[in-house]
């Protein structure tokens, strides 16, 4: 139970990859706060954490609301203590060809997938610096490295996370805080369920392991980075994509 007594915050934890990450960190003994955009989602998180015998709860967080990121960090600090592990997982897609892309689609991605990473990381910094221990893990995407037609907005935001991860790692490495990214390939979640069968079949041809990934397989990489076993890894990205992209 290497994370016993530590507070972990996982955004977008009501389902899919975020849920798997929350459960993985909980299994290592962390007290896990998972966020969802609705109260129903937050209640579902509380329920699955409880069912797993874990410490923690779901909380409502709409990352695009002004001041919401700062507010949730102070609320967590008051109720549980300073956040030691931050997993920036919340994300959406608004796919479109660039020629057809609306400003709203572009902005929605930047406001949801990128800006909160900056806001939440900034808000947890004081606690991590004081503790001389912290983990920030950003969930990026394979398409941030490879590009993908129809996802200029999404891939731009995900690629931005790589730069953010490296710069912040350099800034606060001397205080025992590591900053890393995990870049999932195509994982079997609600986000990829909407893809047409034809496109899925084509995708599989390019995946060495010949299958989609499971949320648990992303969570395992996050669980490793959060643990003391990864204490000498910072500013890096672990690609978990079944061999779809080899760095």
């Amino acid at each position: 139970m290497s994370l016993a007594g530590k507070i972990a915050l996982v955004t977008g934890a009501s389902r899919g990859i975020g849920q798997a990450i929350a459960l993985e960190l909980a299994s290592q003994g962390a007290t896990v706060i998972g966020t969802a955009t609705s109260d129903t989602g937050a209640d579902a998180i509380t329920a699955y954490l409880k069912a797993a015998g874990a410490q923690g709860a779901g909380m409502r967080l709409n990352v695009t609301e002004a001041g919401a990121c700062e507010a949730i960090i102070s609320a967590i600090e008051k109720e549980y203590g300073p956040v030691a592990i931050l997993v920036n997982n919340a994300g959406i897609t608004r796919d479109n060809l660039l020629m057809r892309m609306k400003d709203e689609e572009w902005d929605a991605i930047m406001d949801t997938n990128l800006k909160p990473v900056y806001q939440l990381s900034k808000a947890v910094m004081r606690g991590m610096m004081k503790a001389r221990w912290g983990r920030i893990i950003n969930i990026a995407s394979v398409v941030g490295a490879t590009g993908n037609a129809g996802q200029t907005n999404y891939s731009a935001a995900k690629a931005a996370l790589f730069g953010f991860t490296k710069s912040l790692a350099k800034e606060i490495g001397s205080r025992g805080v590591t900053v890393n990214a995990v870049a999932p390939g195509f994982i079997d979640t609600d986000m990829t369920k909407v893809l047409p069968e034809e496109q899925k079949a084509k995708l599989l041809e390019n995946i060495a392991l010949g299958r989609l990934g499971e949320p648990k397989e992303i969570a395992d990489a996050v669980g490793f980075l959060a643990s003391d076993r990864a204490s000498y890894i910072t500013g890096n990205t672990i690609h978990v994509n079944g061999g779809m992209f080899m760095n």
């Binding site: 004081r126 610096m129 004081k130 800034e171 606060i172 001397s174 205080r175």
Partner: protein
């Protein structure tokens, strides 16, 4: 009860890992005491805690010497 100057000097010495005797009222954190930019951020955090106040970023950036820290605390202490 120590006075503000002594308390500030003590915190500076602790935060920057220098002997208290090296911390003069005119000392600059960066130029004289070897602080880097992150050290100065942490120093302001420590001052906020010691004096139970919040120092806004734009004010914090102006605090670069022991004297400036003492002046700020003196002027803003409740």
């Amino acid at each position: 009860m120590e006075n503000i100057e002594q308390r500030v000097k003590k915190i500076v010495a602790e935060q920057l890992g220098v002997p208290e005797t090296d911390v003069k009222i005119e000392s600059s954190f960066v130029n004289d005491l070897g602080a880097d930019s992150l050290d100065t951020v942490e120093l302001v955090m420590a001052l906020e805690e010691e004096f139970e106040c919040e120092i806004p970023d734009e004010e914090a950036e102006k605090i670069t010497t022991v004297q400036q820290a003492v002046d700020y605390v003196t002027a803003n202490l409740k």
